[in-house]
Symmetry: C2
Subunit: 585 residues, 2 copies
């Protein structure tokens, strides 16, 4: 081994940015700011997330030719301002079809392009709808360092581009991602990245997008793992970050040299001629960096429940702000869900931007208004009070003839919820505030909610939070402040919609600690009724829950978007017909 | 040429059925009934549409293992009851992954399987989400006749399976489809099927599904075209049908024998060894049919507007009935849209199953209630009247403090629409009737509608009908009855939401004859603002329309489903982010 190679080091930067779909000029400003900062810090090579130029996922905007052109123009401008630093950045490449692509920029010029090979088309993803899959898997030689670039899904395949590139000589694998958050995904990702690094004896630099986009939250949480599978750096979760690390590239060569298994596999692959990457030389200048030492950031991984809480805060902040709203409006019932949503909103937007509305009726418990007021006081937010009883009576008057000889039923309950929905929407229309809805996943699943009533609003913050998880989040948030934000009485009272005298959720639903695991099995894991009964749940209860889930599809179809938290959220993640006679209960 | 071959004839049947997603037993009953009838009519080979066993599209039901198993069991039962007739039928085949498949049943047994090769993943389709693509393209030899079977999308590709099968000897191509309707698609399909038949010198029997499924209507309209491109039979549009034709298979051999171009191409393909189908012999028995003559159905192709009207009637009927509802409820404003929807509903469900509700306010024109009443009289439907003024005043009372010092604006207009939405939903809850909404595509596109107000309901019948088309449909429907169903005064009055004094749609929107072509260009054709201005439209108007479309995405996301009529409907057909800063106006 020669001495020049011994000195091969690379200062890498990963810009974990929060961009906005379609905001070409805003995104570019953010990108150029990161480039400037990284250059001033002596970064040799700076990466940006998947489709950083245009935002992710752009969905059907990709069908607009102007969108593609604007994206190419923006990439061009970024390249021109990138002299003196190498950049790897996601954009939409144009050809006969379009590609989800990574640009390699060197010396202010576009020096190489990689096209994503594995296009995800499951869960929330629709990439086959838009993109042509790439078929080439090159290794770029930049400043004497062999680099494999690939995109998001590509790295999840053990025998995918990462392996091809590494065994063709790539010492550093750069993966640019837009990998959406769900609870627990961080550790899955870390295990995967660590396995790719150590299995292929390569440094892996995994840069992930951060920010909220409609139903999705991208959590950042970028990772650099060395060729021995050791964590070099971790980016912040749910925050923008610039992660910088000095990489000892020569160490990869040394480790491979001493690793007979790797040598054997590489020789075998070469002999069999399977999947050898084309080498594309971008720059032969050898880096022998003598630079001031930097401190590599190794943020601690977050655990439940703070991770989930932070996802809600970021998702709410970004939906509201990226859609141009300042303030939000929340109906406060004195119950757990609305209290939790108000707390998230305050943490996301500031107390001055959150307005609560108490809307008591004749069926509201005495604690309803007082708990809502106490919550508002604790959070320091404004609260309006609009009693609904007179309006309810007015409806009963105009409906009297149509309803004569009919007993009260769910109609009257829904009407109260809808009057409240109307009041919130009227305030929204008058003042330009967005309404946050407060339904949780257990309710969304079972249809225990009123369409156009408590479901009326622009964003459903805890739509993917099961009720039992909502309790844990409330307790977690209270543990952060010196005193309770959410009053103890709110957490302790039995859940109730308070739409008829002495109503309790358990009049209609099984207790949440039984309901939630059944829902997880049925909705997220596609378990059959029989399988869930075999797990030990009461047969009648399981059948009832399955029936409620199946017959509430029409309600969910008209629900506002909300933040994906679980492995399978309602929305684009789960696409069931409304019209279906597949009923197994 | 020998005499036995000279006699080669096949009586084919195409069962154009209206099945329901997930209704395995109901679908099977329908299928067995068709098999019995076809057998009694001397049919040799009977085809059913794509995924006929389980319904199309099953969406994420395909992730439920029980759904796949039930589908296989059902196919098995069908096969067992199919002795004495050959059947080609769509089902979900199971393996390492699942396939969109066609079963060839002979002698009561599963004799062959074809896996769909081209999986559509654009527009309303998500087949890559579910299915593995097939890779084999056999020719089945049944009773001495060479038959190529393929599925829907497969036949749309000129160089696809049809060509491979035909040039490998297939004389008859059977395509089983679930091809959704849009206006004008019938003639596109007919040109395509005719080209496949004459280009490949093969008889093509194209069997299409019929019926409504959520946003989609399948229009049937099956076709049999002979090897010279001549129409042999056409199935009914928007109705179930059993299409039967006696095919002269030997004529295909003769025509090929005399067609030097076909001979050359076949020889070339054999020489080059490109894409030769495997021959699978299912039955060598030769058919020399001596059967009573049958009359082949050649239904006339429908034109606009009756075709569109019929699509609305079938789509509405099937959504309501397949979801288990008897009656529907429609808010009647005395305007064109609600009158048209009521008329469609009566034609779909019968007058006894449609209830109108007039909900006048202080801003309603005198004609509003009288026109609604006249319409109800013409259609013979019940009409309820629920004035909203008192309830509106009650809201104004409880909101007075919050709204003090604020001028009236769109808030008060929306509130009236929402009171009406609440009344309809209260009647829906009390009596179990489904609410049909009445918004048209021009309104959906521009957001000229109230969320939770006139958008409240279960099914949006004319959601994909531009206003200018709604007028033509009303005139068409009136031309059918001896006297006007929709009063002339309804058609003649200027469109108005009647939510403030003397309001007209043109206060807010450009005239519909200008608006609609701009919307088609922008929404359906992805034309840019600049391109539309260049088409000759006023710049300011185009910019205003583009802004309205872009900023109304959040409303559309919470709209009820409705029937796809145009090449690109709102809904699963057009997937745009709500959060987007791509604004080019």
């Amino acid at each position: 081994m020669n001495n020049i190679h011994d000195a091969r080091r690379l200062r890498i930067g990963m810009a974990q940015i929060n961009n906005t779909v379609g905001d070409f000029s805003g995104n570019r400003q953010k990108i150029l700011k990161a480039i400037k900062l990284a250059r001033s810090l002596g970064v040799d090579l700076l990466t940006f997330p998947e489709l950083a130029v245009c935002g992710y996922p752009p969905e059907d905007l990709l069908f607009k030719p102007e969108f593609i052109t604007d994206n190419l123009k923006s990439l061009d401008k970024i390249a021109k301002e990138s002299s003196g630093i190498d950049v790897v950045i996601g954009f939409v490449d144009d050809g006969e079809k379009i590609y989800n692509a990574a640009a390699v920029i060197h010396d202010g010029k576009l020096a190489g392009i990689y096209h994503k090979i594995y296009l995800p088309n499951y869960g929330v993803f629709d990439e086959d709808r838009y993109f042509q899959a790439g078929s080439e898997c090159p290794v770029f030689i930049i400043d004497g360092i062999n680099i494999g670039v690939n995109i998001c899904e590509d790295i999840w395949y053990e025998d995918g581009p990462t392996k091809t590139q590494a065994f063709s000589g790539a010492e550093l694998i750069i993966n640019i991602s837009a990998s959406p958050y769900h609870f627990g995904k961080g550790s899955v990702r870390e295990r995967m990245v660590t396995a790719r690094a150590s299995d292929n004896v390569a440094i892996v630099a995994f840069n992930n997008l951060v920010g909220g986009q409609d139903e999705l939250v991208f959590d950042g949480n970028g990772l650099i793992v060395d060729e021995k599978g050791r964590l070099v750096a971790r980016g912040k979760q749910f925050e923008e970050d610039l992660i910088i690390a000095d990489l000892d590239i020569e160490s990869v060569s040394r480790t491979r040299h001493n690793n007979t298994e790797w040598q054997k596999e590489a020789a075998l692959r070469e002999e069999q001629g399977v999947l050898i990457s084309e080498k594309i030389v971008i720059s032969e200048r050898l880096l022998a960096a003598k630079k001031p030492k930097i401190t590599t950031g190794k943020v601690e991984a977050n655990g439940f429940p703070e991770e989930v809480y932070n996802a809600l805060v970021l998702g709410t902040h970004d939906y509201i702000r990226k859609n141009g709203f300042e303030k939000v409006l929340i109906g406060l019932s004195g119950g757990l869900d609305s209290s939790l949503v108000a707390t998230v909103a305050v943490d996301a937007l500031g107390k001055e931007n959150v307005v609560g509305v108490a809307m008591p009726s004749q069926y509201s418990s005495p604690g309803s208004v007082s708990d809502a007021r106490l919550l508002a006081k604790n959070l320091g937010i404004e609260i309006l009070t609009v009693p609904i009883e007179n309006t309810y009576k007015s409806y009963m008057g105009i409906m009297a003839e149509s309803f004569k000889n009919k007993e009260p039923d769910v109609t009257e309950e829904n009407l109260q919820a809808r009057i409240r929905g109307n009041i919130l929407m009227a305030l929204s229309n008058k003042f330009g505030w967005l309404v946050l809805t407060t339904g949780n996943k257990s309710e969304m699943a079972t249809g225990y909610s009123t369409l156009y009533g408590d479901m009326a609003g622009g964003f459903a913050v805890i739509k993917d939070i099961p009720k039992t998880m909502a309790y844990k989040l409330a307790e977690y948030r209270n543990s952060l402040s010196g005193k309770d934000a959410i009053p103890a009485s709110v957490i302790e009272k039995p859940p109730s919609a308070e739409l008829r005298p002495d109503q309790k959720d358990t009049d209609t639903l099984p207790p949440y600690e039984i309901l939630d695991p059944i829902l997880t099995a049925y909705v997220e894991e596609d378990k059959s009724v029989k399988q869930i009964i075999d797990m030990g749940f009461n047969e009648q209860v399981v059948r009832q829950v399955a029936r409620l889930v199946d017959t509430s599809e029409y309600k969910r179809r008209q629900a506002p978007p909300g933040i994906k938290i679980t492995p399978r959220a309602f929305g684009r993640d789960r696409r069931l017909p409304i019209t279906s006679k597949f009923r197994k209960y």
